[in-house]
Symmetry: C2
Subunit: 334 residues, 2 copies
Amino acid sequence: MPNEVGDLSERELIQRIQRQLLPPPPWLLVGIGDDAAVVEPVRGRVEVLTTDAVVEGVHFDRRFTPPAAIGHRALAVNLSDLAAMGAAPRLALLSLVLPGGLPCGELDAMVSGLAAQAASHRVHVVGGNLTRSPGPLMIDLTLAGSVKRRQALTRSGARPGDEIYVTGTLGAAAAGLEQLAAGGAVDEGCARRYLYPEARVRAGLLLARNRAASSCIDLSDGAADGLRRIAEASGVGIRVDAPLLPVDEEACRWFTSRCVDPVEATLQSGDDYELLFTVRPRLRHRLAAVHRHGGVALTRIGVCTDTPEEMVWRRSAGDPASDRPLPAGYSHFR
Amino acid sequence: MPNEVGDLSERELIQRIQRQLLPPPPWLLVGIGDDAAVVEPVRGRVEVLTTDAVVEGVHFDRRFTPPAAIGHRALAVNLSDLAAMGAAPRLALLSLVLPGGLPCGELDAMVSGLAAQAASHRVHVVGGNLTRSPGPLMIDLTLAGSVKRRQALTRSGARPGDEIYVTGTLGAAAAGLEQLAAGGAVDEGCARRYLYPEARVRAGLLLARNRAASSCIDLSDGAADGLRRIAEASGVGIRVDAPLLPVDEEACRWFTSRCVDPVEATLQSGDDYELLFTVRPRLRHRLAAVHRHGGVALTRIGVCTDTPEEMVWRRSAGDPASDRPLPAGYSHFR
């Protein structure tokens, strides 16, 4: 009985993967098994496309990341990008690069993590590619969705005076990763936030539909990074009010126990996959519906200013003397 | 002065890549630099999507594959999949997984190989992803194109009696690879066919537009593999007439010098990226325009039979006693 992917043919592997996927939808004219997929576009909407890879040793560590979490993450990071555009996800192309020695059970678990999340967002895997890896395991996913032409959210629409919001809480994923990597006691909530991030698809859709947000980005590389990118794309300055930041309680405890400033640590923390967005003050009432149906808290954390050089977080409300520069973003390459 | 990609930030790398790409087209509503790309669909056509990765040590060997050829190949293998569907290519998402020690000059050359081919097929790179690799270099590309709904070519339309055709010649790429890997004398034509494969985009488009082909596939994994897949998807048998096979002359000489049957070797040879397609005999006249404007020779090599178990090549015309079984296809995993 085969127990490693290297024992199976490409066709057997594809069948094994396909068993876990949703049945083909009517708009899929040609699906898995031909040279390419053929799909009917969504009428009256524009297409939103993104691609993101998760690589062993860079984005996850197999020693403490269960295979299901790897599959979950590969889809979540892409869903999060579509959420930030206000798009409804629709289909995925799945490119797997697998070491020959990967146990088949781990492949199954990985695919199940991906498939479960795909099912819950009604994302159909319409095609993909399988390749042997001479090194690390990799999942590269391309996700396509759609949005009404005038409703797509971008990073560039913020104006001075716009209020800055985030969904959910921040910092727990980074704390979870630190705890898992340290190998000691692990807070289950934090570990879960790191291992199974939930993309804010519903909140993104509602922000776009209600035209509530002037700009939006997802926080894959941390709040400081997201704030800097919105500021740069929109040509505004940023002031975050530290006391407003929705720092996860357990994360706050963890950072404090490590003698790290929890605000600074949280601003730099990656892997949150929350949405950061800006709202014109006069349109603030539009957030009510997003809050009611988006399934996640929305918290005002600061304001866009008319001084693009100004990139600060304020420790004490109303006290400019307590301003600190926003930490730099995270770079994968330097 | 930085000379390795690991010395650059993600943003610097993106700028470096973007400099070589086509300017954004009017249908690209949001391009590189946001969470995802937003594109206007092509009116009155359906979408064709494919993804294919090239991985160092699996699909290319950096010792004898120049960086420009790696970039060229990454796009060509995907273009070939769209060609096999009869689709017009339109946009690409480029996912690069790069070792930190890759010299910047090699990245530039790789991107230039990809960009040159993208420009010649008017393919726009609308987004992508950059990741550090802890191991091999990888380029994963997703390509989207379009085709008229009723004109998409698939693998499943062949019927008994349909004639089987291929574009161009076969075997040169495999001979080129063998020669390059052996490190001795190299025939320039064969090496070029391996290093810079030309996807048959124009021929595929014409086959679809003229409704000339009943089925089509590209020969990335060799003619035998392509024939088996058409046969299986269409439920027909296959008989190839060996004397008709357009074996490349230099490849024939190479295989013969290695004491390998050139027909058998050619049927098993991968990397040709020619199109294999079937044609109803009464529609054969439709090939004239494909031949005239497709920029490549079309050669009849056999026939589909009504015996699905029959998968043979015939050594001597008209002599069933000279039938040999078609070799098996190539599998990346076993």
